[in-house]
Amino acid sequence: MNNIILIPMILPILAGVLLIFLRTYGRLQAWTSIAVMAVVAAAAVYLLNAIQTDGILRIDFGGWTPPFGISFVADSFAVLLVLTSSVVTVICLLHALVSTDKELVTMYFYPTVLFLIAGINGSFLSGDIFNLFVCFEVMLLSSYILLTLGGSKRQLREAIKYVSINIVSSWFFLIAIAYLYGAVGTLNFAHLSVRVAENGQEPLLTTISIVFLIVFSLKAGLLLYFWLPGSYSSPPVVTSALFGALLTKVGIYAMFRMFTLVFYHEPETTHNIIAVMAVLTLIGGSIGAIAHNDIRQIAAYNVVIAVGFILTGLAIATPDAIEGAIFYLLHDMVVKALLFLLIGTIILLTGTAQIGKMSGIIQNYPILGWSFFIAMLSLAGIPPLSGFVGKVLLSQGAIDSGSYILLAIALGSSLFVLYSLLKIFKNCFWGETIVSKDDQVPLRRGFLVPCLLLVALTIGIGLGAEGLSDYVSDAADTLLNPQVYIDAVLTEDFQ
C-alpha cells in the first residue's frame, strides 16, 4: 500500500491545520502531535521493511507518472531519515510538554512543529527538484516561526539574519533550478539523472551543480555556516533541539541526493570541492567549539562539526564512507537532540548559559549530569555509543580511498568535540555545587524522561548497530547505484 508514503508529510499537515482550531487546548495539542509523530515513525518502520522486500516505493501525486507529475520516492536513505526525525521529534515533544510556555502553546507552537516536520519529511521523500524547493520552504517558514516564537531580543536579532540568509539561499535554489531546467528540461530527479548521464555531465552542468552545492551548503551549514551558531542558540529548548537535530540534515540529505543521483560524473570537481569545504567546516567548527564559554554556542558549533564530518563521507564516496555517513547522520540526529535538550534544561534550571556562572550541577541533578556525560562521549564517537559505527565505516572509507588528511581532520575534530563538551562537563557539572539541595529548582520528571529516552537510543543504536546495518547498507547501495533509483521511478521510455 504505497499510500503509506503519504503519512510522513500529509498527516502532520492535516493534524497541524486541525490543531489551529484547538488553540487553547494545550495538552490536547501536545498529545495529538506526539501521537501523530508516533504514527509517522510507525509508518516509516513499515516502509523500511517494505523497501527491503519490494525495493524502492513510490507514490505519484494525482496519478501522474514521472517525470510529468510529482512523485514521492521512498528509498531506504530517505525513510531512515524520516524515521529518525520522527522519533527524535516525538521525544522532543515529550520535553515540550513540560518545558514549553503556555503562551507559546497558544501561539501555535505545536502546529508549527508539525509543519516543520512535514516540510522536513517532504524534503526527504520528494522525487522532484522543484517540489524539494517547496518542501524546503515549508520547513523554513516553520523554522522562522519557531525561531522567533517567544519574541526575545536575542531571538529577533538572530532571526533577522537567519531569515535573510535563507531567503538568499532559497534564491540561489531557484536560480539553480532555472539553470537546470534550461539545460536539462526536466525536474524529476531520476529523469535528471538519466539526462545528465546521457550528456556525460558536461562542464556547464557541473557549473550548475556548484550552484546547487552552494544552496545545500547554506542549508546544511557546510562551510557557509555563519548563520548557524547564532540562530541555533537563541530559541527555547525544544526548538533548538529540533533545529540542532533536524534542520541541517535536510541540506545534507539534499546534497547526498544531488551528488550521488544526478551529478556524480565529475567527482574530481564536485567531490573535491565538497572535501575542501568539509575540511574547512571541521576546522572552523572545531575552532568555534572551543572558542566559546556559552554552552549554547558550544553546542551550535558542534552541529557544524558534525556537518563537516558527515560530508567527508560524501566527499570520499566509497560504499563504506557513504554507509558510515548515513550511520553518523542518524546518530547525530539523536544525539544532537539530546545535547540541545540537556543544554536547554541546564539553562532553564540555572538561568544562565555561561560556563563560568555554574558549577557542581551534577550534585543537584545527577541524572542530567550522567546524560550529558553520555551525550559527550557519544558525540565524540566514543564506543560503544551510536557515533562509533559511523566513525568506523567513514574512517575505513577514508583509508580505502587514501584520504588521510580527511581522516586525520575528521578524527581530530572528535577531539575538539570532546574538549569542548568536557569543558562544559568539567566546569558546570563538576565543582563545588553553588546551589544547596534545598534551594535547587526541582527537576520535573518530564525533563528527564526525554533525555533518558535519547540516551537509551544512543546506547541502543551503538550496541544494536547490526539491526540497522541492513537498512543502512541498502540506503548506501541505492545512493551509489543511481540506476536502482531510476528503475524504480521511470518507465523504460524515459531511460
Binding site: F130, T148, I160, K161, V168, A178, Y179
Partner: protein, 112 residues
C-alpha cells in the same frame, strides 16, 4: 530576447547584491524583493521565450509557450510573497524590541 532578459536578471541581481551588503535591514529586505524578481525572470528566460501562444488551449494556436516554467514561477511568486511578508514584520518587530534597524547594532555579543 532571452539573452536580453538574462542580462536584465544580471543587473537586477547586481543591484540586489549591493543592497544585501548594506547595513540597513530595509535595504536588505528590498534586496531580497529584487532578487525574487530576478529569479522569476530567470526561470522564464530559461524556459525559452519561444514565439507561441499563451498556454491556453482555447487559443487554438499552432504552438504554445512552455507552460511548466510559468507554473513554477507562480509557485515561486507566492512563496516569496509569504517570505517577504514575514521578514517585513520581523524587521518591524525587531525594531520595536531592539530599537534599531541597523544590522551593525544587531550583531549580538557572545557574553550575554
Amino acid at each position: 530576447m532571452e539573452s536580453l532578459i538574462i542580462i536584465l536578471v544580471g543587473v537586477l541581481s547586481t543591484v540586489a547584491f549591493y543592497l544585501l551588503l548594506s547595513r540597513n535591514i530595509v535595504r536588505v529586505i528590498l534586496g531580497t524583493a529584487i532578487l525574487s524578481h530576478a529569479a522569476h525572470l530567470m526561470i522564464l528566460a530559461m524556459g525559452g521565450l519561444k514565439i507561441g501562444s499563451a498556454p491556453l488551449l482555447g487559443e487554438e494556436a499552432e504552438t504554445y509557450v512552455d507552460a511548466l516554467p510559468q507554473a513554477l514561477i507562480l509557485t515561486a511568486i507566492v512563496i516569496s510573497f509569504a517570505v517577504t511578508a514575514f521578514i517585513l514584520v520581523l524587521a518591524y518587530r525587531a525594531y520595536q524590541e531592539l530599537g534599531t534597524d541597523d544590522l551593525e547594532e544587531m550583531r549580538g555579543t557572545d557574553n550575554e
